[in-house]
């Protein structure tokens, strides 16, 4: 008879909830509560009302079981049925409520933290060392030459000649990130123009590079390369407009020797579109092409 009233989904759910709630009530009460609740369910008008009634019955089972534990209901009510939200849990209801509250609060805090950090969670293994982006700067010609190096100073090792850009330098510590461009010409040798040469009316050109918001290189360290322990530095050439966006596909000027690492560097360069610092002529952003180095390192 009751099943005739369960004509839609909500009614079926309500019926099942009551059946389940009654099943988990203390043993002697189980049959009585199910019949009583199903009879009262039939008096409710509307599927939503019946659904709310059924949910309330689930809660009632929990409260009844708790009452029985406190002795408010006679023990003759029968053995406690097992499992679920009824009497089967080994924890008192107050503890269960506290645990549920803690879990819900923890979930809220986790979601809030995830939004605060912008979901920028690093999943790379801990042995991945910092990768280094080394822009290849162009030192203005009217720059004041730095003081001569102290005696015994070894000039940075030049990896390769770049006609239009200063050569990149090796980082002193491979496991540190140097946010400032390396001073490649601190030897003073290449900065000094012949004293008798008149200063040309050249435009003051400042080469761009990775700017604010540029992606983290570690996120582009290929997993296979990490697994194989591949490290190296690639020189990536990019063409960037005045707004810091790529105008063409980036290319590898100098390979790391690993296709995987080169691919990671290219992916990094692509992902950085819009976050490049454009080159400037007399302070005015201009379209330009320049190179920068990406170094993939692993910790020991």
């Amino acid at each position: 008879m009751t099943s005739e009233r369960m004509v839609n989904w909500a009614d079926r759910v309500a019926y099942r909830l009551i059946h389940r709630a009654a099943k988990r009530a203390p043993g002697a009460l189980s049959e009585r509560l199910e019949e009583e609740w199903l009879a009262d369910l039939a008096d409710r008008q509307g599927s939503l009302s019946r659904l709310r009634f059924a949910v309330g019955c689930c809660w009632a089972t929990s409260v009844i079981a708790h009452d029985r534990e406190l002795g408010l209901l006679p023990a003759a009510a029968g053995p406690v049925a097992g499992g679920g939200f009824g009497s089967g849990s080994s924890l008192p209801p107050a503890w269960r409520r506290t645990a549920a509250f803690i879990v819900v609060a923890g979930l809220h805090i986790t979601v809030f933290y995830a939004f605060v950090v912008g979901l920028d969670v690093k999943f790379l293994p801990s042995h991945v060392g910092p990768t280094v982006i080394v822009p290849v700067p162009v030192v203005p010609k009217d720059a004041v030459p730095p003081p001569p190096p102290p005696t015994g100073f070894n000039p940075p090792k030049v990896d390769y000649p770049l006609p239009d850009y200063l050569p990149p330098t090796e980082a002193a510590d491979p496991n540190t990130v140097d946010p400032t461009p390396p001073i490649a010409k601190n030897t003073g040798q290449d900065l000094v123009e012949p004293s008798h040469t008149p200063d040309p009316p050249a435009v003051r050109h400042v080469t761009g590079g990775p700017g604010s918001g540029f992606p983290i290189p570690d996120d582009f360290y290929p997993s296979a390369a990490i697994y194989k322990g591949e490290t190296g530095a690639a020189t990536v050439k990019v063409c960037v407009n005045s707004k810091g966006r790529l105008t063409s596909e980036p290319s590898i000027e100098e390979s790391t020797g690993s296709d995987r690492l080169d691919g990671g560097a290219i992916n990094l360069a692509k992902a950085g579109s819009g976050h490049y610092r454009p080159s400037t002529d007399d302070g005015r952003p201009v379209d330009s092409c320049y190179a920068f180095r990406v170094r993939f390192n692993l910790k020991n």
Binding site: A39, F53, C57, L72
Partner: protein, 101 residues
């Protein structure tokens, strides 16, 4: 019984249930009837009914109908016992004590 009486916690919801029965102490009410009179949700109502029954304030029985004939399942009917009526009256009388009408 006295021991059981002490274990009845007179919450606002319990008082609402008692009030529903005190409107006509001879009435036999099902859970659905009590709900319609005091508006308590099922999760609150049925534990209270069971507590009051266990304390001897209520007795309950199945409705004497033939479900096939009536076209609906039989209800569980509750009514106040003489003890329950006396105790409930005392409780409400104690609340009225000192109140200026």
């Amino acid at each position: 019984m006295a021991k059981q009486d002490r274990e009845i916690r007179m919450s606002l919801q319990t008082l609402k249930v008692l009030e529903a029965f005190l409107e006509n102490p001879t009435d036999q009410l099902s859970g659905s009837d009590v709900h319609s009179r005091c508006g308590l949700a099922s999760g609150t109502l049925y534990p209270i009914l069971l507590r009051l029954e266990a304390a001897g304030w209520f007795v309950s029985r199945w409705e004497s109908i033939d479900p096939a004939t009536a076209g609906r399942p039989r209800r569980r009917l509750y009514r106040l016992t003489p003890t329950g009526l006396r105790r409930a009256s005392e409780v409400f009388a104690s609340f009225n004590r000192g109140v200026v009408a």
